[in-house]
């Protein structure tokens, strides 16, 4: 199986390089049959990469610990489920996973284009995709091979880090990778468009679904990562501006900017160059993200670029950057566009400001992430920034973005009239103001949270107002009931309302983030059985203790009664787990979620006589973050459901 895996990887690399050669010569000689052969080569590469992945999976399932990667991330006691997820727990398997998914995506692109004759663009699209695939396959074959064996046969593997043994670990990395990898497709189309000079809106229309879908995957990936941190790591938060998190957030910001200006190009035919720049940035940042997470430079920031793998990633990114700049300069004349932003009071200009802010957020986050490396290179001293930097810089920027989210749908394309603005703005502005006054009356006096709540109310109100107006006019025309008209509108204009739902979800998230970070309560204490600890309105009573075995772990659990106003409303179980093969116990988090607040409990210590130490927090409105992000994803999905009408 090991040899089979190695051979499959080599075969995949061979097929990819072969098809690149075929495509190139097919393009050079204008020979359709060579291009067809190149496509078949890519499909063979897809099959070979799939076989290599199956080989690695079966090595995990058969506990083949002579394979170094399997020995490092699995052991006999690991539940079957996690043996599968161990596939992408480390660097080497992640790279294979990347290559595998990319090859499948390439197969999908070929399938999608099956009915269209190969125009001048598509061979270049395949060429760019194949180039990216060959890079990852080369790394797998030559630098970081998951099928490398040990020179001895260990009796058991080292096991999977207990922190990674969580359902979040199953979905978070692959979904994030789907997002990273998905952007390769629009990137390939953009590059192809520049090479052939078809820089019109064609590539954007063709890749809209890939863009939005990749964006959705990236969003889900980021959210799942946050949730995993929240329910597993036990420090009570979901986001720490840690480099790994930033690595996924930065491409998300840039791709969000791209999705917005792509709409402008579709509508108005302007901002062509800008979109080319944004999609390339997104792709490069996705590669950079993979590199940050999986190259090991986070392990040791001192060795930036010095590790074997890092060097290759840097070379790849430099080639892509130089190539991209060259193509932009080369095809600059193609880009000359008639038309421009006509008024600063227009939807185009709000999109432009939204872009500036999104890119500023991306830039600030990137700068903060790599600042230690930059400052060391420049001054010799390593100046670092952490959460305070990101909170201080990104919070005001994000609030501006929320404001724009509210304003944007109220302003028409091209040029908005003042009376039109006044009519559209009045009610949302009053709603937001009222919300702000009520919040202030309830004692919310800090500027940022107050602004966050007010602006979110504004966004919500603009969306609801627009929806109600649209329902009314539809009712007048069709005579339908409100509910029916509402649903039909959602479905018939799903691109627009999909976007509105995303924005509504964003507003909910902002409320959740502001409330849970500004008004969090924390407490800790050591309890004997029967004693209690109070926090906010809650009293936690330590009622009983038990110990039991389950799967590959021993669990110590304390049952806590949750009381409010003297009545027992619920119970929670705080746990510490001792995993086979792990030296240290792991702290499990107990969470009681309601719409109003999360009660968050960890048990960092168990002492003599089962005396327990508890850390407790109340996180107000935290669940709004998960609801809001869920809405964002649903809105995105709604926006890309294709219409049945066949476009001619």
């Amino acid at each position: 199986m090991i040899t089979f895996g190695i051979l499959s990887q080599i075969a995949a690399l061979f097929f990819t390089l072969l098809s690149m050669g075929l495509l190139l010569s097919g393009l050079g000689r204008n020979n359709v049959r060579l291009v067809q052969a190149g496509k078949r080569g890519l499909l063979s590469a897809m099959a070979a990469t799939t076989l290599a992945s199956i080989a690695l999976l079966s090595l995990f399932l058969t506990d083949s610990f002579q394979v170094e990667y399997v020995a490092s991330y699995s052991d006999r006691a690991l539940p079957l489920f996690y043996k599968i997820t161990a596939f992408w727990a480390g660097q080497k398997g992640s790279l294979l996973f990347w290559a595998w998914v990319l090859s499948l995506f390439i197969g999908m692109v070929i399938f999608n284009n099956r009915k269209e004759p190969d125009n001048r663009n598509t061979p270049y699209v395949y060429l760019v995709l194949a180039g990216t695939l060959s890079f990852f396959l080369f790394l797998l074959c030559a630098v970081s091979n998951p099928f490398d064996t040990l020179n001895f046969l260990p009796r058991d593997g080292q096991g999977l880090n207990p922190m990674l043994q969580n359902p979040g670990m199953i979905f978070h990395p692959p979904i994030l990778f789907f997002g990273y990898i998905g952007f390769t497709v629009p990137y390939a189309y953009a590059i192809a468009a520049m090479i052939t000079g078809n820089t019109g809106v064609d590539w954007i229309r063709k890749t809209r679904v890939w863009n939005v879908l990749s964006w959705i995957f990236l969003s889900i990936g980021i959210i799942l990562g946050g949730q995993w941190a929240y329910v597993e790591l036990g420090w009570g938060g979901y986001w720490a501006w840690d480099p790994v998190e930033n690595a996924s957030f930065i491409p998300w910001l840039v791709s969000t900017a791209f999705i917005h200006t792509a709409i402008i190009q579709e509508r108005r035919g302007i901002m062509k160059v800008w979109n080319m720049v944004l999609i390339q940035l997104t792709f490069l940042l996705c590669i950079f993200g993979t590199y940050l997470v999986r190259s090991g430079i986070l392990q040791s920031v001192h060795d930036f670029g010095a590790t074997g793998l890092g060097g290759y990633f840097i070379i790849f990114m430099v080639i892509a950057t130089i190539g991209g700049i060259y193509l932009l300069a080369e095809s600059y004349n193609e880009f000359k566009t008639p038309g421009s932003v006509e008024s600063y009071l227009s939807r185009e200009s709000t999109f432009l400001f939204n872009n500036v802010i999104l890119l500023a957020l991306a830039f600030a986050t990137l700068l903060g992430t790599v600042f230690p490396i930059i400052s060391e290179a420049v001054t010799g001293n390593k100046l670092t920034v952490g959460q305070p930097f990101f909170n201080q810089v990104n919070t005001p920027l994000f609030l501006m973005l929320v404001l724009l989210t509210g304003i944007c749908p109220l302003i028409g394309w091209r040029k908005a009239s003042v009376s039109n603005l006044r009519r559209n703005f009045l009610r949302p502005a009053i709603t937001a103001l009222l919300a702000g006054i009520i919040m202030a009356a309830f004692g919310i006096r800090e500027l940022y949270p107050l602004l966050a709540f007010t602006l979110s109310a504004f966004v919500g109100a603009t969306i609801i107002q627009e929806y109600i107006t649209a329902i009314r006019s539809r009712k007048k025309l069709s005579g339908e009931s409100s509910a029916l008209a509402g649903l039909k509108l959602l479905w018939k204009m799903r691109r627009r309302y999909g976007g509105h739902i995303v924005h509504f979800g964003l507003a909910m998230m902002v409320v959740g983030i502001a409330a849970s970070s500004a008004y969090k309560l924390e407490s800790q204490g050591t309890l004997r059985q029967g004693e209690s600890l109070s926090i906010g309105d809650f009293v936690l009573k330590y009622e009983s203790f038990r110990q039991y075995e389950k799967y590959n772990r021993t669990i110590y659990a304390a049952t806590l009664g949750v009381f409010r106003d003297g009545t027992r409303i619920d119970e929670m179980e705080a746990e510490r787990r001792y995993y086979v093969n792990a030296k240290q116990p792991t702290t499990e988090v107990a969470i009681r979620s309601t719409l109003v607040e999360d009660l968050y409990v960890t048990m960092p210590g168990i002492g003599k006589g089962n005396e327990i130490t508890l850390k407790v927090a109340v996180n107000p409105l935290l669940i709004w973050i998960w609801f809001g992000s869920g809405l964002m994803v649903l809105g995105g999905i709604l926006a890309i459901i294709p219409s049945r009408r066949k476009k001619s």
């Binding site: 040990l150 080292q158 880090n161 960092p604």
Partner: protein, 145 residues
């Protein structure tokens, strides 16, 4: 350039300037030097550091130095420089001991350093995950494959 274009450009310029200022203030207000234990004790920059000035320090947790009061959540330990183990500091952290906190693991502290007592008061404590990425042990095993 058309008049409306110019207005948009000016607005963007103002926006960019304020973003630049925001980032600059952010770096100036929250930037913290990172040093190894050895650098904290012997480098010029380390010695200039005030007792109340925040600094980030990284080093290995010394075996046998861990004293964890899990009742009151006070964690005391000592750190040594990775390359120069003779340089050590004592540290105290008021909080729960992270699950991955083990001897010989690299810890990253942020807080203030009292040179006279050789005591680091840590406000935050990060421990590098032992097996999340490639561990050193694996690399040793790779020899001769």
């Amino acid at each position: 350039m058309k008049k409306s274009n110019r207005k948009v450009m000016i607005a963007i310029l103002i926006l960019l300037t304020s973003v630049g200022f925001l980032i600059y203030r952010g770096l100036a207000d929250t930037g913290v030097y990172y040093m190894t234990v050895g650098e904290l004790k012997t480098s010029v920059l380390g010695q200039q550091l005030g007792t109340n000035e925040a600094v980030r320090v990284g080093g290995l947790i010394i075996d046998g130095s861990i004293d964890y009061n899990q009742r009151d959540l006070i964690l005391r330990f000592s750190l040594k420089d990775e390359n120069n183990p003779k340089e050590t500091i004592d540290a105290v952290y008021n909080g729960a001991k992270p699950d991955a906190f083990e001897p010989e693991i690299e810890a990253l502290l942020e807080g203030t350093y009292d040179r006279v007592k050789n005591l680091f008061q840590a406000d935050t404590l990060l421990v590098k995950c032992p097996s999340k990425y490639e561990s050193e042990q694996d690399n040793e095993q790779e020899v001769g494959k």
